[in-house]
């Protein structure tokens, strides 16, 4: 356990963000203000079908900004997709990126910005502070409330050849501006709302117990947990309630500000490993791992976990059990085995998780064997 002292050096980086109804419609104005002449509009087909990419396009057209749409993006975006996007960015002579969508289009857009500026393969930027050439101006418009890619210094790209997720961590890829509009969240299906919500909770919990946390990140992490646990079940029940959706969006924003600066921990390290190997939903992986990691880490940050448990509430005795109960109330009742994870894959999954940069800020310095045991518990 790393001792905490409030006098320890810490840094807090946050993008400019505008939140509230109609924020999406400001895309054109901000694109123009950033001097964008030709925008690469990065989205996915689902968001396009829901009409949100079209709404951004209209805003750009109204502002007199040209754009090219790139939507060839899957969940857990592949490095190949990033490189194709970068080729389009260069070929179309774009000078700015706007991304509208969930974590996948936003992470892909960050990757496109990196590869497009540096003209190098995106997988070469794996790790921390590897991005040296400034990326083009990036405007993020999230249509989910969970990934927080719209405020974070993280981009997670899947290395499809080696079947693993690559974390690119750099303050260079913190977006220039985020437009947080609750309206696009209303078209999220229930399952996506649940998974992204659990992603938010994981971000907040891990940031709060991170050994790189700070008083500033603590404020955001705790507020994220408070907002999320109160608003998410209600938003699932009333998916078109803009106030509830906005609360989940704010929760995601707080969680993003917290984890982007305090980083994450074992839950995300292990979820990245799982997602790379099995192409599973990132939020669902977090949901299935969170309580088990909390239990394993408890001794290293018990007071913090207890505070989390107090916010979540419930009759259960440990914070991990309270999180598990919350998960179940959202309808997530399966295990990793039910999601298709095999027991004999655990050593490889643990090895990959151990090497993930998120593991560095886990409150307890987990060994590979300990990570294997956590996977085993979640199986």
């Amino acid at each position: 356990m790393i001792p905490r002292n409030q006098l320890d050096l810490r840094k807090f980086v946050a993008p400019e963000f505008i939140c509230g109804r109609g924020a999406l419609e400001l895309a054109g104005r901000y694109a123009r203000n950033f001097g964008m002449k030709q925008v690469l509009l990065v989205t996915d087909r689902g968001v396009r079908a829901a009409g949100w990419a079209g709404a951004v396009a209209d805003s750009l057209t109204e502002a007199g900004v040209s754009f090219t749409v790139f939507d060839a993006i899957s969940p857990n975006p592949r490095s190949r997709q990033v490189m194709v996007g970068a080729e389009v960015y260069v070929a179309e002579e774009c000078n700015g990126i706007i991304t509208v969508g969930g974590g996948s289009p936003m992470d892909c857009a960050k990757g496109i910005g990196i590869a497009g500026s540096s003209r190098r393969d995106i997988l070469g930027f794996e790790g921390i502070d590897r991005v040296s050439v400034p990326t083009p101006p990036l405007i993020c418009i999230p249509t989910t409330a969970g990934s927080s890619a719209d405020v974070s210094q993280f981009a997670i790209i899947t290395d499809e050849t080696r079947k693993r997720k690559v974390a690119i961590v750099s303050k260079m890829i913190v977006p220039d501006i985020s437009l947080l509009d609750p309206e696009p969240l209303t078209t999220m299906p229930r399952e996506l709302t649940v998974d992204t919500g659990m992603d938010t909770l994981s971000h907040a919990v891990e940031a709060y117990v991170s050994n790189a946390s700070s008083p500033m990140t603590d404020v955001h992490a705790l507020e994220a947990i408070r907002l999320l646990t109160s608003a998410l079940p209600a938003a699932i029940a009333e998916p078109e309630n803009l106030d509830l959706r906005f609360s989940t969006l704010l929760a995601s924003l707080h969680a993003g500000l917290a984890f982007s600066n305090a980083s994450l921990g074992a839950v995300h390290a292990m979820a990245h490993s799982l997602g790379g190997a099995y192409d599973l939903s990132h939020g669902r992986c977090n949901a299935l791992l969170l309580e088990h990691v909390m239990a394993a880490n408890y001794g290293a940050a018990s007071d913090r976990y207890d505070r989390i448990g107090a916010i979540i509430g419930g009759g259960e005795t440990t914070p991990a059990e309270r999180v598990a109960a919350f998960r179940r109330t959202l309808g997530i009742t399966e295990t990793l085995a039910a999601a298709g994870v095999r027991e004999d894959a655990i050593p490889a999954l643990a090895a990959a998780a151990y090497a993930d940069p998120c593991m560095v800020t886990n409150p307890h310095n987990l060994t590979c064997e300990e990570i294997e045991r956590i996977y085993d518990d979640a199986l």
């Binding site: 840094k11 980086v13 921390i128 961590v169 303050k171 890829i173 940069p357 590979c368």
Partner: protein, 378 residues
């Protein structure tokens, strides 16, 4: 158990917190400074070039930017130049032609290069002939024309000198032929072509030198000699296209490069057929003339000897006709003496000619036969 050294993990953690050396929020300023420095270096390069570079607004023709060379050529400051259109700088008498040139090419595909020559006028009125390469480009959605102008004053002078030299070569009444060191013809002038019965001088290009001699080996000999000694003058028998031979004199030299290596050989060829025939005729005439003088000397002797006998007899006899015979004999002797004088003058002329001719003669011998001719007669 897998474990990274604690130092590595600590370093990673420092970076994640944002305290690493390069854990920086995105800033375009350092990159902007780098790019500006690059631009300044590039600008310095452009300013150092001898070419005058203009960036022109495609729609208005106004100058958008110029390099320092433009100011150096034209004597205007950059500030002054940016208030002018490009056409303002073109000489008055060339404006209409230049505008027409631009108009004709305005529908060309963007990005294609075009080159033209025109005359620009400097602040002090100096006219500077320029070769200008223009190209349409688009920056930030705006159309521009780049014009790169080279001062071609010296080139025009050099071209003029070259044209004079070429004209001299081409109009020479002597045949001139330039061949590479292997003897392959690179150039032949009109006179050479005409001399060898060829209508087009260019048709001779590529042929070997030996094709122009009745004895093909002569061509090889001349080439070999020139490569060894670098100069030659000789007579030979040339061969026309139709196969007819004729007499030529060949003066050749080798053109060497700075390293002393032969670049090409140059031959000056003269048709000397008339001269050769004239010499032949002269030789025959001299021979005939000598023969005639000799025969006339013999004839003179044949007349004078009997005449001396007749005079002797007439002086000895006492006869009224003797005086008459003597008078007639003296008259005949006068005729012969006159003939001798005439032939002596002819012999002197012939002697003069021979002195400047082939030198073979029997004139001296003949002259001493006219012993009775007085000194003043010669």
């Amino acid at each position: 158990m897998h474990s990274d050294p604690p130092d590595d993990r600590d370093a990673l953690r420092e970076k994640i917190i944002g305290l690493g050396e390069t854990s920086l929020h995105k800033s375009y300023y350092p990159e902007l400074q780098n790019r500006l420095a690059e631009l300044e270096r590039f600008r310095a390069l452009l300013d150092q070039t001898y070419d005058a570079i203009f960036l022109i607004h495609a729609e208005t023709g106004m100058l958008a930017d110029v390099n320092a060379t433009v100011s150096a050529f034209l004597g205007y400051s950059k500030k002054e130049l940016l208030k002018k259109s490009f056409i303002d700088l073109v000489a008055e008498q060339r404006k209409a032609r230049f505008i027409e040139y631009v108009r004709k090419r305005s529908d060309l595909v963007s990005g294609s290069r075009q080159t033209c020559t025109t005359v620009l006028v400097s602040r002090d009125g100096t006219e500077i002939p320029m070769e200008i390469t223009v190209r349409e480009v688009t920056f930030s959605g705006k159309r521009y024309v780049t014009a790169i102008a080279q001062d071609i004053t010296e080139r025009l002078l050099a071209e003029r000198e070259l044209r004079i030299k070429e004209s001299a070569l081409e109009s020479s009444t002597n045949g001139i032929l330039i061949a590479d060191p292997t003897g392959a013809v690179m150039y032949a002038n009109r006179s050479f072509a005409a001399m060898f019965g060829c209508e087009e001088a260019s048709a001779l290009t590529g042929r070997n030198l030996e094709a122009f001699f009745a004895d093909p080996a002569v061509g090889g000999e001349i080439t070999a000699h020139l490569l060894d000694d670098h100069a030659i003058v000789r007579e030979a028998v040339g061969l026309r296209e139709g196969g007819s031979p004729f007499h030529i004199q060949v003066s050749g030299s080798t053109v060497l490069n700075d390293a002393g290596q032969p670049l090409c050989i140059m031959l000056i060829v003269m048709d000397i057929t008339e001269r050769i025939l004239a010499e032949q005729l002269r030789r025959e005439t001299y021979a005939q003339l000598g023969k005639n003088i000799e025969q006339f000397a013999i004839l003179g002797d044949h007349i004078r000897n009997p005449l001396q006998v007749i005079v002797g007899y007439a002086e000895m006899i006492d006869d009224p006709f003797a005086e008459k015979i003597l008078d007639e004999s003296r008259r005949i002797d006068g005729f012969i003496t006159e003939l001798d004088r005439g032939w002596l003058r002819s012999a002197n002329v012939r002697q003069f000619l021979l002195k400047h001719g082939d030198g073979s003669s029997s004139a001296r011998k003949i002259r001493f036969r006219f012993l009775n001719v007085k000194e003043e007669d010669s």
